[in-house]
Subunit: 228 residues, 2 copies
């Protein structure tokens, strides 16, 4: 048996590239995306009643990785990037069938012209094809006592500071307070690949909500935004 | 864009038909299934480390419904079967792309011959094609405070009793205690379609774990197993 999926729509995301996207949803609550549904899925009737739910499941395709396929074992960042585990024991984006799953917050629903869902707490890159939308049912989907031996809690945050130059830019921006918060939430996830040593001379860059955010690591636990 | 899915394997389930399957996972904790992975997914390496997790996400296809397609609105049993809501505001099994999602308990992993996962708390019918397996991460996936206005908790159970004849059969069966528990968990979900009036003369039947379970409604809140 084979089964063909057709995207319901493609995300317009504050994450314009994969680098620095938190590795799970909810870690950066300020991260926003819009999902405009395509015909024939863009009928207001199809989302009637959805406003009853604060959270949704998105099933999507890891579209940037599909061509590269999968390997039986992966090195999850969570284990420092040097221990291998089975791909089905991971949430790796390189996996058979290439499907992803994220619980996201539903901010609002706009049915004035087709259907657009405004979402937050997302961990999905620009252009992600969404193939299913389901309401989150806490009495079914929330299993707080589930055991996850080597990934029992969110990774520890690193400290994020802003250079004077970056601060000035934020103060001038009408969206500055939002941007500062978003940048902090995203970068405190410690986006540096685990295998890279700290190099205080090295500049990292990430495109975030229309800005080129440049940052440096001051040490293992502290990075500074130097420009945007 | 189109994307083709290939099943990782097909479930061998205690639920031999769709009728009476609880409408969400976890409601009948005793419900068991085996998932034997197919080549090339049946490598022990691919599930290495999976034992660290008590629960898994299965993404699967509602294979019995795929040909019938979907409609923009559905009548969820939860709303008595007479109020319509949008298909994306429901967990309906008739939906665009035909994808299902269930959190299930991982009981054991057998890698002696290929890979077989023993699962419980399932809500999936025999032969369900599974297209993804992911570990459940409670600090990501559990959102106990999520709002679900008209489906905030599990539906109320009905009472289940056993006729003398059914009890006798259970006592003779080496799996009788397990079966009694399974039947109780499944039938207390009140499998009668909401639009059907109670008829104490009407026999219902369901194939469950190799048994033909016959039952009748004594009243709205009480059904009796009459034979198996």
């Amino acid at each position: 048996m084979k089964w063909e999926l057709e995207p319901l729509g493609y995300l317009a995301s504050c994450y314009q590239e994969k680098f620095a996207i938190p590795r799970q949803p909810g870690l950066a609550p300020s991260a926003r995306a819009s999902l405009k549904l395509l015909a024939p899925y863009n009928q207001a009737a199809m989302v009637d009643g959805l406003e009853a739910f604060s959270h949704l499941w998105l099933t999507f395709l890891f579209h940037q990785n599909l061509e590269q396929g999968w390997k039986p074992k992966v090195r999850p960042p969570r284990l420092g990037g040097n221990k291998k585990i089975g791909v089905f024991a991971s949430r790796s984006t390189f996996r058979p069938n290439g499907l992803g799953l994220s619980v996201v917050r539903l901010e609002s629903i706009d049915t004035r012209q087709g259907v657009t869902l405004e979402l937050s707490g997302i961990d999905l890159v620009e252009g992600t094809p969404v193939v299913d939308i389901k309401p989150y049912l806490p009495w079914v989907d929330a299993v707080p006592a589930a055991r996850a031996d080597w990934a029992p809690a969110a990774p520890e945050d690193v400290e994020v500071s802003f250079s004077n130059q970056a601060e000035e830019k934020l103060r001038e921006d009408s969206q500055g307070d939002y941007l500062r918060q978003l940048i902090r939430e995203v970068l405190q996830q410690n986006p540096r690949p685990a295998y890279q040593k700290i190099d205080p001379e090295r500049d990292y860059g990430v495109r975030l909500a229309g800005h080129n955010v440049k940052f440096r690591y001051l040490n293992e636990q502290h990075l500074q935004v130097i420009a945007l």
